[in-house]
Symmetry: C2
Subunit: 329 residues, 2 copies
Amino acid sequence: MAEKVPNNYSINDLISGIDNSNRLMLSKAITLIESKRPSDQKAATALIDAVLGKKPQSLRLGITGVPGVGKSTFIETFGLYAIEQGCKVAVLTVDPSSALSKGSILGDKTRMSKLSQSDQAFIRPSPSGSMTGGVANKTRETILLFEAAGYDVIIVETVGVGQSEVMVKDMVDFFLVLMLAGGGDELQGIKRGIMEMADGIAINKADGDNVKKAMLAKKSFESALHYFPAHPSGWKVPTETCSSLEGTGINTIWKQVHEFVDMTKSNGWFDQNRQKQNTHWLEELIQAKIKEAFYARSGTKEKVDALKSSIQAGEISVRNALNQMFPSS
Amino acid sequence: MAEKVPNNYSINDLISGIDNSNRLMLSKAITLIESKRPSDQKAATALIDAVLGKKPQSLRLGITGVPGVGKSTFIETFGLYAIEQGCKVAVLTVDPSSALSKGSILGDKTRMSKLSQSDQAFIRPSPSGSMTGGVANKTRETILLFEAAGYDVIIVETVGVGQSEVMVKDMVDFFLVLMLAGGGDELQGIKRGIMEMADGIAINKADGDNVKKAMLAKKSFESALHYFPAHPSGWKVPTETCSSLEGTGINTIWKQVHEFVDMTKSNGWFDQNRQKQNTHWLEELIQAKIKEAFYARSGTKEKVDALKSSIQAGEISVRNALNQMFPSS
């Protein structure tokens, strides 16, 4: 995998490449920050620190939805619309299932063929094979690189598996949940906690025979939203129908996202949220480091597992197990 | 506070006292496990290990609801009903607000005067002044002591503040959410995530002029439940109206709780849930220990705070901050 490490390029090459929106250099830069090699870490830090000074304006948009909801087509249509509005669009995927199976999100550009052909768009699949908390970290740093390279709409796509949505919600400004109109019981299928994370809801595939059902679903979701607490920013979470196929509703959603940005920038919530995300990012990394250091000690994992078994068997109390784990204290 | 430490009693006194349901010894035992004195820890561990062998049958019931929903009156009525059914009832409160203010849950027995007079009931207020994760740990151990002393219905009361409900949900078998019927908009006030934690919902104060409104609220909550995913055990979360004042609905809720226990005991979920809670308990304590050890190092907190400020000011990246925190790695 020697070609993945930018040995032929200096950090300055990468930095000036990013400055000039050079796609190859941007790609090499992302590969560098994704690298786990100890020898790459110093260069990666220098790179990230260098782009930090740029403080670009950007919109970070998270998009989620169950497999089959039409995320790729939506992102393609939405991305092309954003480009028409004069933006440069980057798409990143966070797909925790990809390491276990083929993945719910296909990790290639064939999904968004039109968008990937645009020189105003950059599509980067999920870092491969990493189920660890490292994904959040790498994705956050990739966002910074994209922003430094002049991409002003960063779309982070995820799929409703485990903690991935919580992770993405914690790195974006606006979290859009794609839904489908279904039978009367479609709302039963809403994933635990997802409605509460939404800054906006879009009912996709509202086209053809489906329009009427989508309108009903819209009403249904609107009343569902009444069961949830107010958005912490004061924002009223909108529900919209759209068709990626016919391109309807896309402009409304674009407008809603920007209304959200305008409102939260003027009331201060936008910046507060980013600051909170940054603080949380550091806390998470520190937490991960100290946990890693603890379990890296020889025999620790085995000891914890044995203690868990003893607890399950009712042989020892949790207090006793903790004492055995930390005898000195 | 010397009287709080049971110096005059041996561990054997406490253990045999608990065996005999001696209230004074039980009280002393709880004080011992709540103690933070290093010199008490060995005795506390011996005590907890001793009661562990008893493996009593019990029902752990969490009850939550906003201030004003009538938790005290409900618990008094429900507790007295449980005693009529031949049970012994213990009530514990977990109130994170009590350390900051007077507390939403009054920490004394005057709230449940009839229940507290019964020799089949034991009411224990929240461990005082502790906002830390220690509350969960102490409450879990207190549950074990109550069970060893023959209390077979353990009610853990909490109030909708911060993480306290998540904490209580993680230590009980059944989590009952008390609600009120209000105007048309009452559902707006539902706390983030609370509906998803409920194993049962009770609309309290369904008496007098309020009965009709309560019935409407019941329907409203029942349809709200459609917006949430199925209970992991296969249980269908019931909604019931009740009046602590008139005693109506209490028997139905009692029956529902026992239907839940029967169902989940026969499909294995009940035991799985308790096992999962125990494993999680140990993991939480380990996590807390290693975090504590990390921040206990001189200057660590100050360093983390300074790094956070630098991040907020845009001076350094999170990666750089982490490197400064862990220079060797």
